[in-house]
């Protein structure tokens, strides 16, 4: 007697269209493409900074090209989406128990959002944006 185990069909390249939650998972995953590409931009920027004032000015000018503006806008959206989903996940990833009770999940995520806002404002202030 041959054994025929149930094999559920799973299209390897289109499976995530089956469920909205799979799509949300994938949309979060693809933000890593933009973060990775932006890391390349940061390393190039460091190289230009090390090469001297003229090279750095050239880098700043290159940043102003339309392609660069579109690219950075997409990266910004991806990074904010990554951050929001990451902070939303913290309450599931590291629940805090005090005595018998768990600290409310929204408090944990909210604390992360607050810390994010403060850190971002401090960085913007130190960079002289305002």
């Amino acid at each position: 007697m041959s054994r025929r185990p149930l094999v559920r069909e799973c299209p390897p390249t289109t499976w995530y269209f089956r469920q909205p939650r799979y799509l949300r998972y994938m949309s979060r995953e693809i933000t890593s493409i933009f973060i990775g590409a932006y890391c390349v931009l940061l390393v190039v920027g460091l190289q230009r900074l090390a090469a001297g004032p003229a090279a750095w000015e050239g880098f700043l000018t290159a940043l102003k090209s339309p392609a660069s503006i579109v690219f950075q806008f997409l990266c910004l959206v991806a990074a904010v989406y990554h951050a929001a989903t990451w902070f939303n996940a913290t309450q599931k990833a590291m629940p805090i128990q005090i005595g018998e009770d768990f600290v409310p999940g929204n408090l944990i995520s909210g604390a992360h959002y607050a810390a994010w806002a403060v850190l971002s404002l401090v960085v913007l202030f130190l960079a002289g944006v305002f």
């Binding site: 390249t13 940061l42 940043l63 910004l76 990554h82 810390a115 960079a127 002289g128 944006v129």
Partner: protein, 113 residues
């Protein structure tokens, strides 16, 4: 007990995810402002060079770049697999090598500043 190399991959991944969430959006915002023509004073050559020349500045820049690069390399590896690219060993090798090369390059450039 079987030894696993996974913690080595996982720790920088988790640390990188946190660094990306907290630091990368505001960094992109700074360069985006520069791209729109409002170069923040902190991105002028003198200010940024002075920051990158300090010990703490080197540490911050290297930490942010290396951890973000490693974390996104690890996530890209999973993304490739999810999109149906099943040559995992090849993908993992290419992406991790890229992250390591990027981190070393960042360190070398920082040492030159």
């Amino acid at each position: 007990m079987a030894k696993s190399h996974k913690p080595v991959v996982w720790f920088p991944f988790a640390a990188g995810g946190t660094v990306i969430a907290f630091c990368i959006p505001v960094i992109i915002l700074l360069t985006f402002l520069a791209a729109l023509g409002h170069v923040p004073p902190g991105l002028s050559y003198e200010k940024l060079h002075a920051f990158a020349a300090s010990g703490i500045g080197k540490l911050v820049l290297f930490g942010v770049i290396a951890l973000s690069a490693w974390s996104s390399a690890h996530r890209l590896r999973c993304t490739c697999y999810d999109f149906g690219l099943r040559a995992d060993t090849l993908v993992a090798t290419v992406l991790y090598v890229a992250a390591i090369v990027g981190s070393i390059a960042a360190a070398l450039f920082l040492m030159r500043i």
